[in-house]
C-alpha cells in the first residue's frame, strides 16, 4: 500500500514536465522532511520546539560556507550541515532538559531568533541582509530532475527512519515521556539520553535538508530564518496531524501548494491560513490525516472492516 505514493512520486517528474511544478514538489519534499523531524520531537516526545527553523538555517549556512571556502564537495558539506544542526541541538538540548511545557517553546524560539539575528549581523561571514550567493550547486545542470530525486531520496530515508521509530519500542518510551515523564523515568527510561538523542536526530535531518536547500536555490538570506517560517512548519504539522508519520508529509505538501496556488489572491491567503489553524485546533486537533481516517471509518458500514481499521489505524 505504502509503495503506491512512493511509485507516484518517482514517476511524477517523468509525467509532469513543468519545471515550476517540479520545483514546488521539491520544496514540498524539503518541508516534509523539516516538518517530519519537528514532529519527531514535538509530536512523539512532547518537546514543543519552536526552533526548527534555526537548525534548518544553521545547516544551510554551514554547508554553503564550508563548500564555498574550502571547495569540499557539496555532498559532504550537506552532511556537515546536518552534524552542525545536531551539535547545536545538543548544546541547546542540555539546558532544555531542565525545562518543561511552554518554557521549552520559549527557549527554542529564543535560540532560533539568536541564530537569525547573528546571521544578519555577522556580515563578514554571511553577508547579512545582502544575502549569500555563489554557493556551489549540487549538480552542474539547470535541470531540476536530479534535485528532485535527491530530495525524494532524503524524504524517503527520513520517513523510513521515522516510521521504524513509530513502530519500535522507542515509540512507547516517547509516549511514556510525553504523558508522564517521572513515571517513565522511574520505570527505567533514560529520559535525558532519550530526549537528547531524539532531538539530535531531528536537528540532524533538518540541518541536512537545510544544506540541500542551500545547494539547490543557491541563495541564502536571514529572511529565511524568520519566525514566520516556523509558523509555516507549525501549520503544516498541525494541518496534517501531529504524532503520525504520514500527517506531516501531507501537511507539508498541502501548505506548500496552497500558499503557491493562492498567490493570486494576495494577502487573503494568510487570512485563510489563520482561520484554518484556529478551526483545526478547536475542532479537529489531531489534524487532517486522522480526520480522513475517521471519516473513512464512519463511511464504512460493514462491521468487519471497521474492526480492522480501528485496530490498524494511525498507531
Amino acid at each position: 500500500m505504502s509503495l503506491v505514493p512512493v511509485a507516484l512520486l518517482i514517476v511524477f517528474p517523468l509525467l509532469i514536465h513543468s519545471p515550476y511544478v517540479v520545483h514546488l514538489m521539491i520544496m514540498g519534499m524539503i518541508w516534509a522532511v523539516v516538518v517530519s523531524s519537528w514532529n519527531l520531537v514535538a509530536g512523539y516526545v512532547g518537546i514543543f520546539s519552536l526552533g526548527q527553523i534555526g537548525f534548518f538555517g544553521l545547516g544551510g549556512y554551514t554547508s554553503a560556507l564550508i563548500s564555498m571556502h574550502t571547495g569540499i564537495s557539496p555532498w559532504f558539506c550537506i552532511v556537515l550541515g546536518g552534524l552542525m544542526g545536531g551539535a547545536c541541538s545538543i548544546f541547546i538540548g542540555i539546558p532544555l532538559l531542565r525545562l518543561r511545557g511552554a518554557y521549552i517553546a520559549m527557549l527554542t524560539l529564543a535560540f532560533s531568533e539568536v541564530v537569525h539575528f547573528l546571521d544578519s549581523n555577522l556580515e563578514g561571514l554571511t553577508r547579512g541582509e545582502m544575502s549569500l550567493w555563489g554557493i556551489p550547486p549540487l549538480f552542474d545542470t539547470a535541470e531540476k530532475m536530479p534535485y528532485y530525486y535527491t530530495a525524494l531520496f532524503l524524504l524517503i530515508i527520513s520517513i523510513i527512519l521515522f516510521y521504524r521509530f513509530s513502530k519500535s519500542r522507542y515509540r512507547l518510551a516517547a509516549t511514556a515521556i510525553k504523558e508522564a515523564e517521572h513515571s517513565a523515568e522511574s520505570l527505567g527510561v533514560n529520559v535525558k539520553k532519550f530526549k537528547l538523542g531524539v532531538f539530535f536526530v531531528s536537528a540532524f535531518f533538518t540541518g541536512m535538508v537545510g544544506g540541500f536547500y542551500a545547494h539547490y536555490v543557491l541563495l541564502l538570506s536571514p529572511t529565511f530564518l524568520k519566525f514566520s517560517y516556523m509558523i509555516d512548519v507549525l501549520a503544516m504539522g498541525i494541518l496534517g496531524g501531529i504524532g503520525t508519520v504520514i500527517g506531516p508529509v501531507i501537511g507539508a505538501f498541502l501548505v506548500t501548494f496552497f500558499l503557491e496556488s493562492f498567490r493570486f489572491i494576495g494577502e487573503y491567503r494568510f487570512f485563510i491560513y489563520g482561520i484554518l489553524l484556529i478551526l483545526i485546533i478547536l475542532f479537529k486537533p489531531q489534524g487532517l490525516y486522522v480526520g480522513i481516517v475517521d471519516l473513512t471509518k464512519r463511511l464504512d458500514f460493514s462491521g468487519k472492516k471497521k474492526m480492522l481499521i480501528t485496530h490498524g489505524s494511525c498507531r
Binding site: 511552554a102 529564543a110 509558523i231 494577502e267 487573503y268 494568510f270 489553524l277 484556529i278
Partner: protein
C-alpha cells in the same frame, strides 16, 4: 568615544523605552500567571491598538488622549471575546492533556495574530501611517533634551501600570485574579468563577497591549507587522523578569530598555536583539523561573 553626557542621555532614553517594554510584558505575565498560557497574539493586539488610535484621531478627529482610552476599552472587549471563543473551548484540555493545552493555546493565539495582521494588511493597507504627536517639541534639562511626546507616553505608561496595580490589589475581581494565580484549585473551591475572571484577565491584558500600541502610535510609524518587535521584546522581558511576576516584568522592562539603549553607544542597533535574546537564554538556563519569579519552572 565614551562621554558621560551621551551615557546619561541613553540611560534616560532607556528608561522611557523600558516603560513601554514593561507595559507589554506585564500583560503577557498576567495572562501566564492567571490563565497558564503564553499569548502569541499580544503583538497583534498592540498593532490593533495603534491602528485604532490612528483612525480615531485622524478620521474622526477625536483628541489623542480620548482616543487612547477608547482604543484601550475596545481592545478590552476584543480580549474578552478572544477568551470566550478561542481559549475557553480548549480549557478542558488543561487538566487532561497538558501537551495539547500548551500546543493548542500557542497555535490558536498565533493563528489569531496572523489573522489580525492580514486583516490590517487588507483593510488598512501596507503603507506606513504616522500620527501627528499631541505635544511637539522638546524639553531641555541642561545637558539632555527629550521629546515631549516621549515624556508624555512615559508618564502615561507609569500611570497605567499604577492603575493596574491598584486594580489587582483593591478590587474584588483583582483579588480573585491574584487568588487564581497563587492557588488555582483553592481559588475554585472558594467559589471564584473562572468564567468571569478569565475573560476579564484576557481583556485587561489585551487592553494593556493596546495601550502600548496607542502610546507609541504618535512616536513610530504604524504598519501591519508592527507588533512583532514589541512582542519579542515583551517576551524577553517577561522571561527575564520571571513569568507570572508583575514586579519582575516591570523591573526587567526597565533593565532591558536601559541595556538596549546604552549598548548602542558601542555596538550597532542590529545587535540589541541578540543581546536581549541571549540574556533571555542565559536566564532560562541559569534560573528558569526568572530573576524575580517564584521558583516553580
Amino acid at each position: 568615544m565614551f562621554s558621560l553626557n551621551l551615557f546619561l542621555e541613553q540611560l534616560i532614553n532607556g528608561l522611557i523605552t523600558g516603560s513601554m517594554y514593561a507595559l507589554m510584558a506585564v500583560g503577557l505575565s498576567l495572562i501566564w500567571g492567571i490563565m497558564d498560557l503564553f499569548n502569541f497574539s499580544h503583538g497583534a493586539l498592540y498593532m490593533l491598538g495603534a491602528y485604532a488610535v490612528f483612525y480615531l484621531a485622524t478620521a474622526l478627529g477625536i483628541n489623542l488622549i480620548a482616543s487612547s482610552f477608547i482604543s484601550i476599552s475596545a481592545l478590552f472587549f476584543l480580549g474578552v471575546l478572544l477568551e470566550r471563543f478561542l481559549i475557553r473551548p480548549l480549557r478542558p484540555l488543561q487538566g487532561k492533556d497538558i501537551w495539547a493545552w500548551i500546543a493548542g493555546t500557542i497555535v490558536v493565539t498565533l493563528g489569531f495574530g496572523i489573522l489580525a495582521e492580514t486583516f490590517a494588511l487588507i483593510v488598512f493597507g501596507s503603507e506606513y501611517k504616522s500620527l501627528p504627536p499631541l505635544l511637539s517639541g522638546t524639553v531641555n534639562f541642561g545637558f539632555l533634551t527629550l521629546s515631549k511626546q516621549m515624556l508624555l507616553s512615559f508618564f502615561f505608561a507609569i500611570f497605567l501600570i499604577t492603575v493596574l496595580g491598584m486594580f489587582l490589589k483593591y478590587t474584588k475581581i483583582g483579588i480573585a485574579m491574584r487568588a487564581i494565580a497563587q492557588e488555582p484549585e483553592g481559588a475554585l473551591l472558594m467559589g471564584i468563577n473562572t468564567d468571569v475572571v478569565f475573560p476579564v484577565t484576557f481583556g485587561v491584558c489585551a487592553g494593556l497591549a493596546g495601550a502600548a500600541g496607542a502610546l507609541l502610535a504618535p512616536i513610530y510609524n504604524i504598519y501591519p507587522s508592527i507588533g512583532w518587535v514589541p512582542f519579542a521584546t515583551g517576551f524577553n522581558v517577561v522571561v527575564i523578569g520571571g513569568l507570572g511576576s508583575i514586579k519582575g516584568s516591570i523591573i526587567a522592562g526597565f533593565l532591558l530598555g536601559v541595556i538596549g539603549s546604552v549598548s548602542i553607544i558601542w555596538v550597532s542597533s542590529g545587535w540589541v536583539p541578540v543581546i536581549s535574546f541571549g540574556l533571555m537564554i542565559l536566564v532560562l538556563i541559569l534560573r528558569p523561573s526568572g530573576l524575580f519569579g517564584v521558583s516553580e519552572g
